[in-house]
């Protein structure tokens, strides 16, 4: 593994009366797809939200490319892009305006703005609907807008939280291809999912969470071990 782009150390978090994270640690490197796996409620989304500074940890620490999420949150956010299952976009803005807005807020310089937005539209094959209002786009097209706004500032760390859960087969495949492409460009890709089949195909390394604890971590092959697939390995770990 390359040097850790994201380093999570003994993270703890309680939301309301529910202790969601119980001292988890993990590391994800640049140029790899890192799978954060586990059933619903395992703590995957909370972990991602802490990594991208939306939530503050109760204990433990997170470093992104050497920046601490507690003390340097804005530096962290400049280097992180997040794609979630909730493909919320501004319906009365066009696809291009949605992306431009996030590029501007992420600090893309005026001289770079058009070039960056055009590049991202081109890369995600969005040129044909770039000037259409978001309210008239299909789910797949909206998901592309969501990806575009997350990557327009060219972040070194990309996090995908159940990105395909609301999408059809074709749109899901495009997302998977995009993750592979990003890894090949040297990005650190963190893929949070409960669909283990997807994880097995895409991830270089995985960490399995269960009830706020890490129950397994390592390369995909290591975690699968002697089992037929990752799902069997996962079920055995969870049932222990």
């Amino acid at each position: 593994m390359s040097p850790a782009a994201v380093k999570v150390d003994r993270l703890e978090k309680t939301l309301g009366k529910n202790k969601v994270l119980r001292g988890i640690s993990l590391e994800a490197g640049s140029g790899e797809i890192f799978g954060l796996l586990g059933p619903n409620g395992a703590g995957k989304t909370t972990t991602l939200r802490i990594i991208c500074t939306l939530l503050a940890p109760d204990a433990g620490s997170v470093q992104v490319l050497g920046f601490d999420t507690r003390t340097e949150p804005e530096d962290v956010r400049r280097r992180v892009g997040v794609v979630t299952a909730d493909i919320g976009v501004y319906p009365r803005l066009s696809a291009r305006e949605n992306i431009t807005y996030f590029a501007e807020l992420s600090g893309v310089l005026d001289g770079e703005l058009d070039r960056r937005v055009d590049a991202v539209l081109d890369r995600l094959d969005m040129v044909s609907f770039a000037n259409q209002r978001a309210e008239s786009l299909s789910s797949g097209q909206k998901q592309k807008v969501a990806i575009a706004r997350a990557i327009v500032h060219d972040p070194a760390v990309l996090m995908f939280d159940e990105p395909t859960s609301n999408l059809d087969v074709l749109a899901s495949r495009e997302i998977r291809n995009f993750m592979v492409e990003s890894r090949d460009r040297g990005k650190c890709v963190i893929f949070s999912t409960h669909v283990l089949h997807d994880a097995e195909r895409l991830c270089d390394r995985v960490t399995i969470l269960h009830e706020g604890c890490v129950v397994a971590t390592g390369s995909t092959a290591e975690v699968r071990g002697a089992h037929r697939d990752l799902e069997d390995a996962f079920l055995e770990l969870v049932e222990k």
């Binding site: 939301l15 309301g16 939200r49 991208c52 500074t53 939306l54 939530l55 503050a56 804005e74 530096d75 956010r77 400049r78 992180v80 997040v82 979630t84 909730d86 493909i87 919320g88 976009v89 501004y90 319906p91 009365r92 803005l93 305006e97 807005y101 996030f102 501007e104 807020l105 992420s106 600090g107 969501a146 706004r149 997350a150």
Partner: protein, 373 residues
């Protein structure tokens, strides 16, 4: 400042593409002139309308002509008391030495007819008494030993117009500043949660205080535009429609005070509505949270209606909204500004706006905002 401008520009662009907000502004511009036309027509109709007086007995000489000239139509009835309940506006019985009158005070037409009748009878009595004195060679001026000669310092008609404006204009200003920006405020706060764009927005490196300030500025501008559209159309309508026998107009001083107060109110209301919108999970819940604001804001404006001569001490000018109503009323009625009152009012509204902005920021930065989304 740049990120503030980015948020502001995006919010304005979205608002201007939102039919709800445009509809609210358009309605504000059209509603006030419509209301004024209705008021003008009703008041003209009331002034010129003929009311019916049911009577029994013999009409005293000359009184019939006076009543007819005052748009009171005499109609013989069998029983004036019964007729006054529904058939006619008032009933009277001419007796040899007195007049009996029956009227229902709950009927507005009866009240107006009664006032007219009392005026006519007063004039009739005075004329009869003067004629009787003159017949006896006595100066009728004896009946009015201390005649009053009025020297109004300003036009009574204009004063009546100003009194109307002093209630109507603060009411329109406050209502429109609140309602004009409400939809935009809820869309910019609760709408972000409902559309699920909030998380992405908070993931940008832009400080949340600047995001919020950009939203407040955008909502304030829309509130101002809405209020100015409503008041502009109202003043335009007043310049065309005679009301209370005159064309009511706003003095330049009152106009400046009004714009200044509108700016302060817009900032305060925007912060309040954004804070309430941030508490809400969706647009509809935000509307429910905002409903009490209507009552809170309309109540101070109503004080001027019920207590027109309400002249409180300076401490009252610390109360937000009420202070704006009082300052604006003074500027309209007296065409002058009491600077200490305006100073306290400005400080109070700015402080209220800052407190609300701080509350909105606290709400906007709490973790539960995301967890409950």
């Amino acid at each position: 400042m740049k990120t503030l401008a980015i948020v502001f520009r995006k919010e304005i662009r979205e608002i201007l593409r939102d039919r709800r907000t445009l509809f609210a502004i358009g309605l504000a511009a059209l509603a006030t002139p419509t209301v004024l036309v209705v008021i003008s027509q009703v008041s003209t109709k009331t002034a010129t309308q003929t009311y019916t007086v049911g009577y029994t007995g013999e009409i005293p000489t000359g009184l019939g002509i006076l009543l007819s000239a005052t748009a009171l139509k005499l109609e013989p009835v069998a029983d004036p008391a019964t007729a006054a309940k529904q058939q006619v506006d008032i009933g009277i019985a001419f007796e040899p030495a007195q007049i009996d009158e029956w009227y229902d005070p709950t009927r507005q037409s009866a009240q107006i007819a009664d006032t007219r009748l009392q005026t006519v009878l007063g004039q009739y009595d005075a004329a009869k008494a003067a004629a009787a004195l003159q017949q006896r060679g006595i100066d009728p001026g004896l009946l009015n030993p201390l005649p009053v000669k009025l020297h109004p310092l300003s036009s009574p008609v204009k004063a009546a117009g100003n009194a109307f404006l002093s209630f109507f204009l603060p009411y329109i200003l406050i209502t429109m500043v609140l309602t004009g920006g409400l939809s935009a405020a809820l869309d910019a706060s609760a709408g972000e949660r409902e559309r699920k764009t909030l998380e992405s927005l908070l993931l940008t490196p832009t400080p949340r205080s600047r995001i919020l300030l950009g939203k407040i500025l955008a909502v304030s501008v829309i509130s101002l535009v809405s209020a100015i559209a409503a008041i502009g159309s109202m003043l335009l309508a007043l310049s065309q429609i005679p009301l209370l026998g005159t064309h009511v107009s706003l003095s330049p001083l009152a106009a400046i005070v009004m714009v200044w107060l509108a700016i302060l109110l817009a900032g305060t209301f925007s912060s309040v509505t954004l804070a309430l919108g941030t508490l809400a999970k969706n647009f509809r819940q935000g509307q429910a949270y905002s409903t009490p604001l209507y009552f809170i804001t309309i109540f101070p404006a109503s004080i001027i209606l019920f207590i027109p001569d309400f002249n409180p001490n300076l401490a009252y000018y610390l109360i937000p909204i009420l202070n704006a109503v009082l300052v604006l009323r003074d500027a309209i009625v007296r065409n002058s500004v009491a600077w200490p009152a305006l100073g306290i009012t400005s400080a109070s509204l700015i402080a209220t706006g800052l407190i609300c902005w701080f509350a909105a920021l606290r709400l906007f930065t709490r973790e539960t905002l995301l967890i409950k989304s």
